[in-house]
């Protein structure tokens, strides 16, 4: 039986700005099962980030239910939500959000600091392993400003992996990167997905969405279309096919 990681029904989210109510999400139903690599697509302002933030328990829906790994999130307190994020979720942001003047290793360790059951030794070992998984074991002691944008994003991905979450949520994770580096990040996500990681990936670039297994299209706070990706591309192959000197 397939395990439902994310199960959302009639989800609504309103923002009240002054006298105006913005219906960012109108009535969204979505199920994501274990091992899926879902791209959330849509034009600017269609509600993608709002959706992802709710999936990430960073924001609460106005209405509707959300089950994360079988847990009804709406019943949880702030502290329980923090614990849920710590144990079950991994985030990757468009702007990396690494702590400045803090080594890659320490950045990756950070989530485990908030988990009392992980001892310092294990924390270090797991952070090293996560950096290894993103191919940055030789950059462990570099500061963010000593890393390229792509490398910084890989550190951020390592950070999202280190607590072994049930799902990784990424919002425009390739938005700040050039094409080649974007493909490298996508290749990394594809590898992680191949190993069974569930990933939800917000993007408005169809090319990027082509590397995922399913695309969900948003418009004006509604899902207007869903489709499985039939001829899924391999980001690794695309990179290899790219001429070396073309770097943009």
């Amino acid at each position: 039986m397939v395990r439902n990681i994310i199960s959302v029904s009639s989800l609504k989210k309103d923002f009240i700005v002054g006298e105006v109510t913005v219906h960012a999400l109108r009535s969204v139903n979505l199920n994501i099962t274990e091992g899926e690599f879902v791209a959330i697509m849509g034009t600017s302002g269609s509600g993608k980030s709002t959706m992802l933030n709710i999936l990430g328990c960073l924001d609460k829906p106005t209405e509707g239910t959300y089950l994360l790994d079988g847990i009804d999130v709406s019943t949880l307190s702030k502290n329980e939500l923090a614990r849920l994020r710590n144990l079950k979720l991994g985030f990757v942001f468009q702007s990396y959000n690494l702590l400045p003047r803090t080594s890659a290793l320490e950045n990756v360790e950070l989530p485990l600091f908030y988990n009392d059951s992980v001892k310092p030794r294990e924390r270090r070992e797991r952070a090293i392993a996560a950096l290894g998984a993103v191919g940055l074991e030789d950059r462990m002691h570099h500061m963010p400003n000593q890393l390229s944008g792509g490398q910084q994003q890989r550190v951020a991905i390592a950070r999202s992996l280190v607590n072994d979450p049930v799902v990784i949520l990424a919002d425009e994770a390739t938005g700040n990167l050039d094409t080649r580096t974007s493909y490298e990040i996508m290749a990394l996500f594809q590898e992680l997905n191949a190993k069974g990681k569930t990933i939800v990936f917000v993007t408005h670039e169809p090319e990027i969405a082509g590397f995922t297994t399913r695309n969900v299209h948003f418009r004006d706070g509604n899902i207007i279309k869903e489709n499985l990706v039939t001829n899924r591309g391999s980001a690794r192959e695309m990179i290899n096919a790219m001429p070396m000197e073309v770097d943009s």
């Binding site: 003047r101 600091f113 009392d116």
Partner: protein
């Protein structure tokens, strides 16, 4: 999350901004250092005054001619009744709480020996004068009762006078000096006492029999003061009462009349000066405390700026599982660390500064352990107090709002 992890996180956050952390601490450092140094200086000067005064004999009771009121007009010392030897005898007879009494007569003048001369004061007393004043004889001897009875022209010489008249080579004992042209033989050298707290040289004097000073030198019959010792320090109050009675009888004062003399005790002097320096210490301490407060506000300011500046960091920490309490604790620990580390540096600096000031000025500097403990506690309190508000602000943020903060 446990305290060790939080402390590590807070310390890392501070280390990421070492220079700013240092600047923030500077206020606390200066505040604490000045509190400690000021209190040490204040306490030191108080101790020195107390030591000086009690080195003159803590059970000393002094009788001096008083000022008289005539129709509400202060007449000054001139019109008051002079003291004389009769009063000394009265005290000696009628005051069981007094163990020793001596008259004191004094006069200033030029003292000459060989080619050297020096202005000084000649004090006259009884044979027990040195005991009452707590002065020792370094060389030679004290004058005798016979010498007092015969108004012998002998004296003991203070170190300052001896140095100025004889230099280092000549032993002053046995020499003859001339005070106001009267030849006086030096029979003893006094032990050095140095300067007192008020900068007065206590070795710039001659001491001889009071009869000699009265008859041979000043040609007066009165005495300037009566020095007496109470049997013990605790007995001074009793001694004062007895002396008052004896003096009133001796001066034949009737019931309603005011005293025409004044009685000063050493204990009184100590407490007067102690309270003056207490006020000074409090004042200095208060000024320093204000600078400490300003330092605390500096911490609060930086923590506030820091919370705003690090809003995205806070958002990130929340997104990876930091609870509001964790964020609160992190910022609180940061501000406590700032103030406590600043406090420790301030304590070290304050103690060092006290020692240096003590060395330069020669004041006895007494660093009070209480001041150190207090400043440490105050620093922690400042950290908690001024860190609490910004920390609360940080903890109350919504994860998503914090993350989206520009």
């Amino acid at each position: 999350m446990n305290i060790t992890n939080l402390s590590k996180i807070a310390l890392n956050a501070l280390l990421r901004n070492k220079f700013r952390a240092f600047l923030t601490m500077l206020g606390i450092i200066i505040g604490v250092a000045s509190v400690i140094a000021m209190l040490a200086i204040g306490e030191g000067s108080k101790k020195s005054i107390q030591d000086q005064i009690s080195s003159m004999g803590s059970n000393l009771v002094m009788v001096m001619p008083g000022t008289q009121m005539m129709g509400g007009v202060q007449q000054g010392n001139a019109s008051s009744k002079a003291l004389d030897i009769k009063d000394v005898k009265a005290i000696r007879q009628d005051c069981p709480s007094v163990s020793a009494v001596s008259p004191e007569v004094r006069g200033g003048g030029q003292v000459v020996a060989g080619g050297n001369n020096w202005p000084t004061t000649f004090y006259g007393g009884d044979v027990n004068y040195l005991d009452i004043k707590k002065v020792e004889v370094k060389a030679g001897r004290m004058f005798t009762e016979q010498e007092v009875a015969s108004a012998a022209k002998v004296c003991l010489i203070g170190q300052t006078v001896a140095d100025n008249l004889f230099g280092n080579e000549v032993d002053p004992v046995g020499q003859t000096i001339r005070f106001k042209n009267i030849p006086v033989r030096v029979i003893g050298l006094l032990e050095e006492k140095g300067e007192n707290t008020f900068g007065m040289d206590q070795d710039d004097l001659l001491i001889g029999p009071y009869t000699t000073v009265q008859k041979r030198i000043l040609a007066v019959t009165h005495i300037n003061a009566i020095l007496s010792s109470a049997v013990s320090e605790d007995a001074t109050t009793q001694a004062v009462a007895e002396i008052t009675t004896a003096m009133r009888a001796s001066h034949k004062l009737s019931e309603g009349e005011d005293d025409d003399f004044q009685i000063r005790t050493q204990a009184e002097l100590v407490s007067t000066f102690s309270s003056i320096s207490d006020i000074l210490t409090t004042l200095l301490g208060a000024i320093s405390a204000i600078s400490l407060l300003v330092g605390g506000i500096g911490i609060m300011n930086i923590m506030y700026v820091s919370v705003t500046e690090r809003t995205r960091e806070i958002g990130l920490r929340m997104s990876i599982g930091g609870r509001g309490l964790d964020i609160l604790m992190q910022f609180l620990i940061e501000s406590i660390l700032l103030s406590v580390i600043g406090g420790i540096i301030g304590i070290l600096l304050g103690v060092t500064a006290s020692a240096v000031i003590g060395n330069l000025t020669g004041w006895p500097i007494a660093v009070m352990p209480l001041a150190i403990i207090m400043s440490f506690l105050v620093c922690t309190a400042i950290g908690i107090f001024f860190g609490w508000y910004p920390a609360r602000k940080a903890a109350g943020l919504n994860p998503i709002d914090a993350l989206r903060f520009e």
